[in-house]
Point group: C2
Chain length 334, copies 2
C-alpha cells in the first residue's frame, strides 16, 4: 500500500490526474472511514464539469463490451474517460467478482482512461455514496466523460445508474424469459436504448419490439421534448457506436443549462444527500447495535417477544447517543 499520503497532497495529485492517487482516494471513499470525509468534501467542490453516463442492462446483454468500445471511441475523440463499474460482489468475502477486467486491459496503459471496479457490498447507502464520490474524484481529475456501469438487477444498482446525467439501457436479442422480465424493470429509466449484438439475425425483432413499446407511449416522449432513441450496436462490426455517441452528445446538450437538466441535477443531488445521510446514520446505528443485538435476537429466536418490540428496544438503546442522554436506556419509545 505504501506510506500514508496526507489528504492535501493526495488531492493535489488527483487534480494532476495521477492514476495512483485517484485509485488511493477511491479506496478511501470505498472504506467509508470518517478520516476520508474531509478530502472527499474538498474534492466535491472541485468537481462538477464532467458528463456522467449511466449504463445498465441485464446480465448477458453485452454492456461491458459496449462500455469498452465507447471508452475507446471517446478517448480517440480527445476526451479523458473514466469508468466506474459496480460489480456483483461475494456476500462473504466482500471482494468484487469481476475484478479489474481483463477485457479492458488494452486501454489501461493510457492515463487518459481510468477504469475501476467497485464491489456492491457494504452498509446501507454505502455503495451509492462511494460510487458518486468516485465520480467526483474522476471529475476533479479532469475526466470529461465518466461512465457509471451496473448490472441491471437489484434496486440499489438501478438507482445508482439513474443518478447520472444520461442513462443508457442495453438490451440484447435472444435472452431467456426470466432475464426479459428483469429487463422490463429497466426500460422505463432509459434516456437512450441500445440493442446490442445487432449482427445476430434475431436482433431486428428486439429493435422493433422496443420501438413499438416506446410508440405505445410507455415513455417514448419525455416532458423535456426528448424523444428516446433506440440504437442498434454490434461489437463485431462496430455498427451503431457512432450513432450512440451522437445520441449521448445530443442528450448532454439537452440537459446542460436547461430546466430539464436542472431538474435532473437537483434529483441527483437529493438522491446523493439521502444516500450519504443513510450511510452515516447506519454507520452509527450498526456500531451501537453490535453489542445490543445478540441478546435481543436471542429473545426473538425464543419468541419471548416480537420483532417490532425488540426493534424498538434496539433503536431506543442505540440512538440514545443522538439525543437525550438522561433518558432511561431501556425505555421503549412509542
Amino acid at each position: 500500500m505504501g506510506a500514508y499520503v496526507p489528504s492535501v497532497e493526495l488531492i493535489a495529485r488527483v487534480q494532476r490526474g495521477e492514476p495512483a492517487a485517484i485509485g488511493r482516494l477511491i479506496s478511501r471513499a470505498e472504506s467509508g472511514l470518517a478520516e476520508a470525509r474531509g478530502a472527499l468534501a474538498q474534492i466535491h467542490k472541485l468537481a462538477g464539469g464532467a458528463h456522467v453516463v449511466g449504463m445498465t442492462g441485464v446480465p448477458g446483454s453485452g454492456k461491458s463490451t459496449l462500455v469498452s468500445l465507447l471508452s475507446q471511441r471517446l478517448r480517440a475523440g480527445g476526451d479523458k474517460v473514466g469508468v466506474i463499474a459496480i460489480d456483483p460482489s461475494s456476500p462473504y468475502s466482500g471482494g468484487s467478482i469481476l475484478g479489474d477486467r481483463i477485457r479492458m486491459s488494452d486501454l489501461s496503459a493510457d492515463p487518459g482512461v481510468y477504469i475501476r471496479s467497485m464491489a456492491t457490498h457494504g452498509a446501507t447507502g454505502g455503495m451509492a455514496r462511494a460510487a458518486l464520490e468516485a465520480v467526483d474524484i474522476l471529475d476533479a481529475a479532469g475526466f470529461g466523460v465518466i461512465i457509471l456501469e451496473t448490472v441491471g438487477v437489484g434496486q440499489d444498482e438501478v438507482e445508482i445508474v439513474r443518478a447520472s446525467h444520461t442513462t443508457v439501457v442495453v438490451s440484447a436479442p435472444g435472452l431467456g424469459d426470466e432475464v426479459q422480465a428483469i429487463k422490463a424493470g429497466l426500460l422505463e429509466i432509459a434516456d437512450i436504448h441500445v440493442v446490442s449484438k445487432c449482427d445476430r439475425s434475431d436482433a431486428n425483432r428486439t429493435l422493433t419490439d422496443l420501438k413499438q413499446m416506446l410508440a405505445l407511449g410507455a415513455g417514448g416522449q419525455e416532458p423535456s421534448g426528448w424523444a428516446i432513441p433506440v440504437v442498434g450496436t454490434s461489437a463485431v462490426s462496430g455498427e451503431g457506436i457512432d450513432e450512440l455517441l451522437g445520441a449521448v452528445a445530443r442528450h448532454r446538450d439537452l440537459t446542460t443549462n436547461t430546466d430539464a437538466g436542472l431538474a435532473r441535477r437537483q434529483s441527483i443531488a437529493e438522491f446523493r444527500l439521502r444516500k450519504t445521510a443513510e450511510n452515516l446514520l447506519y454507520d452509527r446505528f450498526n456500531a451501537a447495535a453490535a453489542s445490543a443485538s445478540a441478546k435481543l435476537a436471542e429473545q426473538l429466536m425464543r419468541r419471548e417477544s416480537d420483532p417490532y418490540s425488540l426493534a424498538e428496544e434496539l433503536l431506543s438503546t442505540t440512538l440514545e447517543g443522538e439525543g437525550d442522554h438522561e433518558r432511561d436506556v431501556h425505555s421503549k419509545s412509542a
Copy 2:
C-alpha cells in the same frame, strides 16, 4: 378489497389456513403500515414450526421451475407448502414484474399450496422485514414447508435467502460469462447445490466443476459436519427431485435441536431484528427528511457545501424528534 377485517378476526382466519385471510395479512405486512404491527407481532408468537427453505440462482437457472416441481412433490407427500417469491420490481411503477406466476397455476386450486409474489421495491430493510413476516403468516397458518425464492443478484436478495433454515443454490449449464460471475457470489451460501437442466449434454461439466470446487475446500465441509451435496435435476425427466427432497430433509434433521441449528436460528433472528429496526428507523428518517432535503439538495447541487456536511445537517434536523427537542434545529452535530 372488501370491508376492513379487524386483526383479531384476521388472525383467527389465518390460523384456520384461509387463503384470502393469508393474502390480506401479507398485503398488510408489505404495506409497512404501523397499524399492521400488532397483528404481525401476534402472528410471530404463533409461528416457529415450519421448515424454511431458501432457494436462489442466477437468472435463467430454472429455479422457478424447480420450486414448482418441489412444491408439487412436497404437497403429494402430505405437507402444506407455502412459496414466497421475491420478484424483481419496476423501480417506477413499484409493481412486481413476474406477477402471480402462470407456471404455478396448476397448483393454485389446492388450499394446501399457497404462492405469493412480493416485489423488491420499498424502503431500506422493508423487503426482508415483509418477506419474513410473510413466512411467519404461512407458518402460523400451518404450512409445514415454506420456500423463500429470490433471484440471486443484488445484496438484499441474497441476504434474504440466507435467512432460511436450508439454503439451496441453483446453477445451470450453458450460461454466459457474466452470469457465471454473478453465480460465483452465490456458491458460498449454499447448504445444497442443484444443477438444473441435467438433460442437457453440457450439464455434466457444470456438475463436475461444482464438485471439484467443493473438494478444493471452498466450503465442501461445514463446521457442523454437513457435507454439501451437489444434486443434478431435470424438469424434463423429473430426475433428481427426490434426491433433492432427501437432501433437504437430511439438512432439516441436522439443523433441528442441534448446536448448528441453534446458531443458524440465532443468526436469522439477528438478521431479522436488524432489518426490522432499519426499516423502522428509515420510515422515521424519510418521513422527516422529505421536507428538509429539497433545500439542502439545492445547496449540494450548487456545490455551496459538501455531501457530508449537508447529510449531517439533514440527520440533525430529522432525528431531533428522537432526542432532545430543545436543541437548535439548524445546528450541526459533530
